[in-house]
Amino acid sequence: MGVIETVQRDAPKARPAPNRRSWAWLGILPFFLFALMFLLYPSSTIVVRSFQNSSTHEFTFDNILRLFNSQYLLQSYWISIKISLVTSIGGGIFGFLLAYSAIRGGLPRFMRSSLMTFCGVASNFAGVPLAFAFIALLSPTGLLIGWLRALGYNPYFHGFTLYTFWGLSIVYMYFQFPLMVLVIAPAIDGLRREWLEASQNLGATSLQYWRYVAFPILFPSLLGTMILLFGNSFGAFATAQALTGGQINLVTIVIGSELRGDVLGNPGTGYALALGMVVVMILAITGYTVLQRRTERWIK
């Protein structure tokens, strides 16, 4: 056995070592070249240009300063952050309840796999078709509004419209909660039944089990997944654009109009806004990674 192993190990080593190394380097070179050309360099121009005067190309802090001096631009960040908070917390809670119901709620087995398939589809269903689906459902002539009107209640007389903040939040929830279900499911699987049984044997109530056992264990993954949801809606553009035609000033929509070269647009501002978004996203992803590491201690 030992002899065979030696022979096998020796065979590749017989080649000159430097040759092999250079080959391996070459093998991943296309990836780095590709990334440099189509991802790293174009993205870095955003950083460079947010510190450049857009006509003279001189170095300047003006674009960044303009962000902090403009009520309108700060407002656009705030709206984006607000909608991301609302839909990540709302979608997170609803998604968790749904996933927990399907996995541990005593429902028939097939419910779990169907839920997972639905969620795989729904979390990828965004943009124009999604906006249209909700227009068909919740616009003044939509299906659900029609039903409610037939019951004598028209939400549009009570301050509801699809094309504002809360309407957009309802639409965003459609891709938010399925993502929550998909990502949180392994964490719920990681909750061992023994822990529930043990706490019941020790006389804990259901509330105490959640308060002292399940919630503390799930907390990092709940928070981590919600951060992922936050990023998911923070970068969204197409859905809002298709739904409201750009009437809600999300930061992505403002960037779109600043950069498109509209009359009022200022590319420098657009790049600075984009840089700010990347900073927010990096913070979110860092938070996610840190919490993910903490979760892995519990889930095998």
């Binding site: 990836f31 050309m37 609803f94 709620g105 589809v121 943009g127 068909a136 960037i255 990347v278």
Partner: protein, 259 residues
């Protein structure tokens, strides 16, 4: 106490099902109303007999296929070598493949346009740039799928066995490794397909024919056809996901890990 738990489970589940299906139901019913007074598939007939739709849609399918091919050619050898030969590059490569998550597409596309719209790099009009951009967008999914696939097989043993039988690197990669991780590659491929078909921003700002921009434009022009298109695009996403689930049955990285 146990009973109320099950009741709540059903409650949340039914709420989820309603949230999921009501918008689709509304869209579907709406799409059938193209003929006054009766329900018909007229809108669907209009769509499929429309040259513009066929043109834009087949363009999207072509972009998707090219994106998948480029993605596989680029990422399979990279992930393979990182696992086998140059593990020191794991972190930078993982970081790069995660970047498209962090950079919003609207920001990314402007970076692209700026970079490639003046000499010597005047390729902003080339379809190749669009395919490259789609490849970047689908990279997080493709790389992760491939990497998961490689993790589930014994890359080193397979490679050494192939080598000792006299196989060259091309043979190893495409006739040994690739067939062994085809399930993972397929799942990455269908995710990429769904992403490319639904993508609005890249094709819109790079001014290329594609399904999503065409649909966005149709929404402003027509009533029933966009509804039918939303249903079609949903069905396509569904098929892509269904195929992933179907080919992934029994694979180690499957969702149904609860048993």
């Amino acid at each position: 106490m146990k009973r109320t738990g099950v009741v709540w489970s059903w409650f949340w589940m039914i709420l989820g099902i309603l949230y999921f299906f009501l918008p689709l139901l509304a869209t579907f019913i709406f799409s059938l109303k193209a003929k006054l007074g009766v329900l018909s598939f007229q809108a669907y007939i209009n769509i499929f007999s429309n040259q513009e739709f066929v043109y834009n849609f087949s363009a999207s399918v072509l972009w998707a296929i090219l994106t998948i091919i480029v993605g596989i050619l680029l990422l399979v050898p990279t992930a393979f070598l990182i696992r086998l030969r140059v593990p020191q590059f794991r972190s930078p490569v993982e970081f790069i493949t995660l970047l498209p998550f962090v950079i919003p597409p609207i920001v990314y596309v402007f970076g692209l346009v700026r970079t490639y719209s003046h000499p010597p790099l005047l390729i902003v009009d080339s379809p190749a740039l669009l395919v490259a951009a789609y490849t970047v967008l689908s990279m997080p999914y493709m790389y992760r799928s491939v990497d998961t696939g490689l993790r589930s097989i014994d890359v080193r043993t397979l490679t050494e066995a192939a080598q000792s039988l006299g196989a060259g690197w091309g043979t190893i990669l495409f006739r040994v490794i690739l067939p062994n991780i085809r399930v993972a590659i397929l799942s990455g491929a269908f995710l990429s397909f769904a992403i490319v078909i639904g993508e609005l921003i890249l094709a819109q700002y790079l001014v290329k024919p594609a399904f999503a921009p065409y649909m966005a434009y149709q929404i402003q022009q027509k009533a029933y056809e966009p509804a039918a298109m939303a249903i079609i695009s949903f069905a396509l996403t569904w098929i892509a996901m269904g195929v992933i689930q179907w080919v992934g049955r029994g694979g180690p990285a499957q969702v149904g890990a609860g048993h």
